[in-house]
Structure formats: C-alpha cells, structure tokens
C-alpha cells in the first residue's frame, strides 16, 4: 500500500498553482484533502507524476458572504463547514449533509473543493450543489470562468474542468429565509457512500409550494438534477398525490449500478424513499 513516486509541489497562491498545472500538464494532480486521491494512489489506480498541494493557499480557505451569495473556498473542510456560523445561518442544509459524509477524522481533512471537483458519483456535495444552483469558479491560465453545478458533471470522474484549471470557489445563492430543506441519505454504515440520497429545498406560500429544487446522489453516473420531480411539487399543497408524482418523476431519471449496495431496482426505489422523506421534512421545516 505504498503509492508510486511523484514530485511534490506546494505553491502559496492560486496563480502559482495554475502555472504549475499548466506547465506540468496531465501528469499533475492538485492535492486538496487527499482523502479520495491518496487511497487511489495507494492502490496504484492513480499514479500522478506531480502532486500540487493546495494547503498553503490561504485564499482558498475562507467562507464569505457576497450579497446574496455565500462563497466557499475550495480548501474549506467539511469540519470547517459544520463549524461555520455563516453556514448555520444561511445554508443549514450544508451542515446536515456534511455530517453524513465519511467520519469525523475524514471530515477534518476532506474539502468542499475536492468533494465537488472529483466527479465521484458517490460524493454527496455535487447533488446538493445542483439542488442549490451553485456555481463553481474555475481558475485557468487565461483567467477565471464560472460553470453551474448543474452543467459541470459529464460522467463518472469526467467534468467540465479543463487541463490546467483549478476549482477555486463555490458560489451558492442563499435560499430565501424560511425555506424548508432536507438531505436524506441511506447508507449501510458510517463512512459509506449513499445507496441513494436526495436533497430538497423548497418554499411555501399560504399553504402551497411556491418553489422546489431536487437533486439525487449516487443513482447514476453523475449527480442528477431532478427538474420534473420538483415541478410536480410547485403549486401543490405537498399532498400525497403531488409527492407521489415527484417520486415517480425522480425514480424515472435514475440509472444506478447494481453493486454491494444493492441491485439497481432497489436503489431506484430507495432514491424514491429518500426523496419522499426529504420532502416531508423540508415541508415541516418551511415557514
């Protein structure tokens, strides 16, 4: 379980990191918390020739508010998120989700940037970022660009990140005060990836659902933004018929693998169950 050899780089700015990524090309990988990459390197499934450690880039470690947007640096850990007063006040669903990721030790080290940029369909934050309509800031040799989380994921481990680009921040529009939210995750044990999981954010107005957003984790090659499922809720009182319709619409877009977490049919059904529970909890929380 010893990784292959590599050269180690520790730049202290985003510009230097991007310059290294550009210069060293495809054989270079950025190292954030490393809790996905290092296990892959130990198995020799990943053998980068260069690691670019981002840990000394202070600019990537802050959580700030920019008007109606919360800006989370790529090197903010899951533990930092759980501890953040700003996140607790404006985006509590992030804390609920972060607490369901891995275990305490991994959450001290694992980062938001790594979680969303790796393109692993098992990761929890990508679907949540789609649910919240987050945007990722990608710094590259020709400056920065933004890509919506809903457009970012192409296939398992394939994303819109281009060679030489580094994901530096996540920009999340703050949902309206009084929004209801829930992240429901079925897993076999602490530390496991989801058998299926669902993120829901909704708002209520005079007893009927004014807006809704839904995304699903680990029931396809990418996180799934469930637009039709959310549309089935808007305008309803979130009665059984509306929730049934949303669950059917969500199940219809899943395409899970059959694996140790269960056969595909079961995981599709579990995505529906997680969604139903998430809608009910979000409804109970909505003002």
């Amino acid at each position: 379980m010893i990784p292959g050899t590599f050269s180690y780089h520790r730049p202290d700015s985003v510009d230097k990191a991007v310059a290294l990524l550009t210069e060293l090309g495809e054989e270079a990988r950025p190292l954030a918390g490393g809790h996905s990459l290092i296990p892959m390197m130990k198995l020799r499934l990943a053998q980068p020739e260069h690691l670019i450690d981002l840990s000394q880039i202070d600019a990537l470690k802050s959580i700030t508010r920019d008007g109606d947007t919360v800006v989370i640096g790529a090197m903010v850990s899951q533990h930092d998120l759980i501890d953040s007063g700003e996140i607790a006040a404006s985006l509590p669903i992030l804390i609920e989700t972060a607490k369901l990721i891995a275990d305490p030790q991994v959450r001290y080290v694992g980062t938001m940037g790594g979680n969303v940029a790796n393109g692993d369909p098992g990761n929890d934050m990508p679907a949540l970022m789609q649910c919240l309509d987050a945007r990722y800031v990608l710094a590259g040799p020709n400056g920065s660009r933004e890509v919506a989380a809903r457009d970012f994921y192409e296939a398992a481990y394939f994303t819109k990140l281009e060679a030489g680009e580094l994901l530096t921040e996540i920009r999340i529009p703050v949902p309206p005060a009084g929004h209801g939210y829930a992240y429901e995750k079925l897993k076999r044990k602490v530390g496991d990836y989801a058998t299926a999981a669902a993120a829901v954010v909704l708002t209520m107005n005079g007893g009927s659902c004014a807006s809704a957003s839904i995304a699903l984790t680990n029931v396809g090659d990418t996180p799934l933004f469930a637009e039709a499922a959310a549309a089935a809720l808007v305008g309803s009182t979130l009665d059984k018929a509306a929730i049934d319709a949303a669950v059917s619409a969500a199940e219809a877009i899943t395409d899970p693998a059959s694996d140790g977490r269960g056969p595909a049919e079961y995981r599709t059904k579990m995505a529906g169950v997680m969604l139903r529970r998430a809608i009910e909890r979000a409804k109970a929380r909505a003002a």
């Binding site: 990784p3 050269s7 290092i38 390197m41 275990d103 030790q105 080290v109 602490v190 530390g191």
Partner: protein, 166 residues
C-alpha cells in the same frame, strides 16, 4: 526520487528529516521516529488505528503524506501521559472501565477521544458514539469505550472546576 526536507513538532519535540514525498505519515512516525503506538490497521482510511492529533484535528495518518505535515504540531498516544509518566485521564479511564480487550484500536481511540473532549468537554453518549464513528474496535468493546470516555470527561471537567476554584 529527490527527498524533501520536513520539520515538525511531535509530542513537544522538534524533529527534522528528509523524506520521500510518497512516504505516508504513519510510516514516518512508526519507522523513522520509532513511535509505534499509533497502529496500521486497515490502511484504507476506515479503521482509525493510525489516528494522530495534528494541529488540533484528528487525522488518519495512513492517508496523509509526511510532507503534508511539514510544520505541523503532532501528538501521538506516546504524548498523552505526563512527563513524569502519570497517565492521562483517558488512559486511566480506559484501564479502569475495561475500554479495551486486545488493545489494537486503543491508541487511535484515545487520541481521537482526546480531541473530541477538547471540542466538546461534556458529550452525551450519542455524541461520543458519533465522535468515535471513525474508529473501529473488532473486539466489539464499544460499550466500555463509551463508558471510559464519559468517565474521563467527568474527571477532566472536575479537574478544570478544581483549577478554576483555586
């Protein structure tokens, strides 16, 4: 492959070394520094036997390169007891409450519990269980581990109260 210079504080002592970048921190701690208290269990970030306290965080040192710990302040199980050999309240409590059977997971359990009690000095049993969720005990001694951590918390809080009163 060129070696990289690292410098860190381990159990209050400054250490410097040249390491290959691919050297995992647990191997550096055990083989180069001779601190064999932290164990290698699963080597896949699951079991927590290799847990170290690094800059105020509990970290699984099988999933960190030694070069990433350059400049860090690290505590291992060897650094838990007082310099005169008096056991840490957690160590006392694990002994007193039979918080171990084979003992393989114990260094990781105690090192993790130490950070948990720094952050949450008075945890509920549920919080203790979630707090040590990244540490596996294959003797299934969790019941007594939770009891030991709770007992240590009481002792440590009592000591704090006594200090404050003095």
């Amino acid at each position: 492959m060129a070696k990289t210079h690292v410098k860190m504080t381990v159990n209050g002592k400054e250490v410097e070394a040249l390491v290959e970048p691919r050297t995992l921190l647990i191997h550096f701690i055990r083989e180069d520094l001779g601190l064999t208290g932290p164990h290698i269990g699963c080597e896949t970030t699951h079991c927590g036997a290799c847990t170290l306290d690094i800059d105020g965080k509990s970290v699984k040192s099988c999933t960190l390169f030694a070069v990433q710990a350059d400049g860090a302040d690290i505590r291992t199980i060897e650094g838990m007891a007082a310099p005169d050999g008096a056991l840490h309240p957690l160590q006392e409590a694990f002994r007193e409450h039979h918080g171990l059977q084979c003992g393989f997971c114990t260094p990781g359990m105690i090192t993790r519990a130490y950070r948990l009690l720094q952050e949450n000095p008075n945890p509920t049993d549920e919080e203790i269980r979630m707090g040590i969720a990244g540490n596996l005990c294959r003797c299934t001694g969790y019941q007594n581990i939770v009891k030991a951590i709770r007992a240590a918390a009481e002792v440590m809080n009592g000591a704090d109260a006594k200090e404050a009163a003095e």
